[in-house]
């Protein structure tokens, strides 16, 4: 069996795991990160796109609110390539409790958040699609953050700092020595071959899978999983993030991200991290709430819907150090040895995408203490620069169209919705081992725009044909995967688009269902 050895083995390639790996690399640790799927396939990629100002938690969790505000300011500095400074508003509608705005405003002031009440009439001039029935409006420091971009920049930063990121590698067990974990048995899912990684410390950053991972170490980790559904509308009727000024509840947020607006979210307890089924009533509830802020939005085109699983730590595991960890706190770092468990493993659970850097910092502080090293965290002052900015933000991709060389087909548009050029695909293929179309989608946003893979998937499959064993089947499998997110919003223009895709691929081009289990 092939073997690797490292100081830190990080399990999970979401924002938490990648953040920890990045911080660890900067502090000089040898790092291997394993992820069972692709970057962005879990909770971090299934997200509404909000960089929290903290105001959402001002009443219910003031310490989290303060953390969000601090991290918001830091991320704007270090990860600007993934962030659009949309600004945000908290808006009171006739459906919201009258008492709430003043109480919330007071809590925001106590948490030192930047909040400013604005004239509704002035706001309506800036955002004319907003409901004129809004009674009060407050400006906050929200922004929108593209989590795919953030995760990709993090991964690059880790690789550049000498860390290793192994995708499609799944944990199958731990090896103990005298009550301490010393190695992990891993399966490489692409080649179905085993791998053994010995480590000094494992960090469980599995998100909704954290309890499952802890089980391998014979540790019970009580997680409460909540499914949150989001709907992306295929337009940006407002410039800013919109929050409902009321206690946190379903459908209280609208985030403009790239060319779409995301309506979020619901919260339904589930028992399995794979339970991502979206119900009609969740979509209806999100649209009904969004109608209160943006009348008529129900008649706009919904692009697609998706669900993510929030992993929250169920109390009372925090009891280990009650003085520093208030109950409302959203994340926890659990050193299992200190909690009468095995040595050699730490679990990091809960948290928000906005606070991923802080979680990593706190985690590495614990790690440094264990290793007896005193290295300061430097992530808050290290800029995360994408190596190739062309992979990122839509406006940048659009701008480069003006500078194309005539006769150079590398700059031909393959995806006209997201401005992906032929050269982008070749570069992505060269940078990584053979990938599926779905991996390329998470790298380049192929298939995510208004045509929902109608044109680009066919073109891309041909470019990828030399590295795929059965490109036609891979293409059909990709369309099948994309179809899932369309079904919950299958009415009106979305249903037209679905029929269009079916008509193109099944009728005009002659593709058919791939045999089950292929790929």
């Amino acid at each position: 069996m092939p073997r690797l050895s490292t100081e830190l083995l990080i399990i999970g390639g979401g924002a938490t795991g990648l953040g920890i790996a990045w911080d660890a690399c900067l502090r000089g640790f040898k790092v291997v990160l394993i992820e069972q799927n692709d970057i962005g396939q879990g909770t971090s990629g299934r997200y509404h796109g909000l960089l929290h100002s903290g105001a959402r938690y001002a009443v219910t969790a003031p310490s989290l609110a303060r953390e969000c505000a601090q991290e918001n300011a830091i991320l704007r500095r270090i990860a600007s390539a993934a962030i659009e400074d949309t600004g945000g508003y908290f808006l009171a509608t006739p459906a919201d409790p009258l008492y709430f705005p003043d109480r919330w405003l007071k809590a925001c002031k106590q948490a030192s958040l930047q909040v400013e009440e604005v004239e509704v009439a002035e706001l309506l001039r800036r955002e004319p699609r907003l409901s004129p029935r809004i009674s009060r409006a407050f400006r906050v420091q929200d922004a929108s953050m593209d989590s795919f971009d953030l995760l990709h920049i993090l991964r690059r930063a880790i690789l550049e700092a000498g860390g290793h990121v192994l995708l499609r590698h799944r944990l199958v067990g731990f090896i103990h020595r005298g009550g301490t974990l010393v190695a992990a048995e891993i399966e490489d899912l692409m080649t179905a071959s085993p791998l053994c990684i010995s480590f000094e410390l494992a960090i469980n950053a599995g998100g909704p899978w954290a309890a499952h991972i802890a089980n391998f170490a014979a540790v019970h980790l009580p997680l409460a999983l909540g499914k949150g559904t989001m709907v992306a509308m295929a337009s940006r009727p407002v410039h800013s993030v919109l929050n409902r000024c009321r206690p946190p509840s379903d459908g209280d947020i609208i985030v403009p991200v790239g060319s779409v607006s995301v309506l979020g979210t619901t919260d339904i307890p589930v028992s399995d991290p794979r339970d991502l089924q979206i119900q009609d009533h969740e979509v209806d509830a999100l649209l009904a709430e969004a109608e209160m802020l943006l009348p008529g939005i129900t008649h706009a085109r919904a692009l697609r819907a998706w669900a993510g699983i929030r992993p929250l730590l169920a109390p009372p595991v925090d009891a280990g150090a009650p003085e520093t960890r208030s109950l409302g706190r959203a994340h926890a770092i659990l050193d299992h040895e200190a909690l009468d468990g095995p040595g050699g493993i730490i679990s990091v659970v809960g948290g928000k995408l906005t606070t991923f850097r802080l979680m990593a910092q706190e985690c590495l502080d614990v790690v440094c203490e264990r290793f007896g090293r005193s290295v300061q965290c430097s992530t808050s002052t290290t800029a995360l620069e994408p190596a190739d900015r062309r992979f990122f933000a839509l406006p940048m991709r659009h701008r480069r169209l003006a500078h194309r060389e005539p006769g150079n087909h590398a700059s031909d548009l393959i995806c006209e919705c997201e401005f992906v050029q032929q050269g982008d695909i070749h570069r992505a293929l060269a940078a990584d081992p053979p990938q599926t179309l779905d991996d390329l989608r998470r790298d380049l946003r192929i298939g995510m725009g208004p045509c929902q893979a109608g044109f680009c998937a066919f073109r891309t499959a041909d470019i990828m044909a030399p590295v795929l064993s059965q490109p036609a089947q891979e293409l059909a499998a990709f369309l099948h995967e994309r179809w899932k997110g369309l079904r919950p919003v299958a009415w009106g223009k979305t249903l037209q688009q679905m029929e269009f895709i079916r008509r193109l691929y099944a009728e005009l081009l002659g593709f058919s269902q791939p045999p089950s289990g292929s790929r």
């Binding site: 087909h409 031909d412 044909a465 036609a472 099948h480 299958a490 029929e499 008509r503 005009l508 002659g510």
Partner: protein, 407 residues
Amino acid sequence: MIDLIIVGAGLTGLFAANLAAELGASVCLVARGRGGLSLSHGCIAVLDRAQPLRALDRLPATHPYKLVGKQSLKQSAKAFSRMMRAEALPYRGRLSHSLPLLQASGQSTWVNLAPPSLGQAHGPLVGIASIEGFRDFAPQMLAQALRAKEGYHVRVIQLPLPHPFRELYASDLAARFDVPQWCSETLRLWKPFVRGLDTLILPAILGLRRHLHVFHLIQEHFGCAVLEIPTLPPSLPGLRLERALRLRAKRLGVRFIEGSAAIGRAEVRSGKARVAGVQLQSAGGPRSLSSQAILLATGGTMHGGLAALHAGRMRESVFGYPIEVQPERSSWTAASPFSPQPYAMAGLCVNTCMHPLDPAGEPLFHNLYAAGGVIAGSDRVYQGSRQGIDLATAYRAMQSIMEDSHH
């Protein structure tokens, strides 16, 4: 007054307009959009079966083929073939035995009538053209699929263009092939690359206006068979068919009013409810058009003949008539895009005369007819029955209209 208003400019509407005009009716075709022929492989498929007529008997009683009957289907195909011959766009094939049509995926589907440039590749030596800068055909993917089949020796041939172009659509290339000088220059340029082949496979780009000429010229020039494969839209075989039907209809005196949505008007005359005509939502304001009869050829959910609403309802778009569907939207679609879709079965229920029916089974109006995708009872993508249904229902509707107008 006009005899007949046809709403919709797809295969159904254009074919019906030609039939009616041939019979001397005054016809006005109104359409909001362009119809679906730019998304079409340009062939006539009855069912995705080698012998579709044999399978018709086993279809459910509500299927459009069952309502129109085998006879109307056969007559419609005959009328279609006759029209296409007259327009110098001859189709070959018959309904009893299907032809295999090789498609971009490398798989074949069964069609019954096909233009000469489409069909299957004759091996063993097959060259697949990869045309510089043309993105909407997948030569590598097709080559891999054909290599997996027996009896083919496949190579992909890179073909340059006389002038560099960026992001061409199939229609851009076809427009160039329509220019004789460009065409001959290109064939000269390609000739050294195309040697020793049995068949050269090209994306369907060989011209719109004079493609038959180009098709014969290129085979002569290269000394091998040439096969066109339908590409991403705009799909030329469909556009050629559309062009032929449009030109013919215009020549026969059909009036076209396009770009305006139509809203149906009904009235009660001598105690009987009838459709009176349509109101057009045209740019200069609403405009009324009256007729003896109306044929809805508006298409299904994709083309807007049927509107699927968030509230879990569906309605017909011209008269706003409710369509029966399950209220749970999640039951409208299947888990895979390649499976039969419940939403695709929805539409207007019609009788054997193509009159849309109310829930009691009575015609909504004695002078309203429907044909093509707006009719319930078939998932035409899944069945591969689109054009057969379009032709047969349009033909049957036209028979009824003519019979009814004589009474």
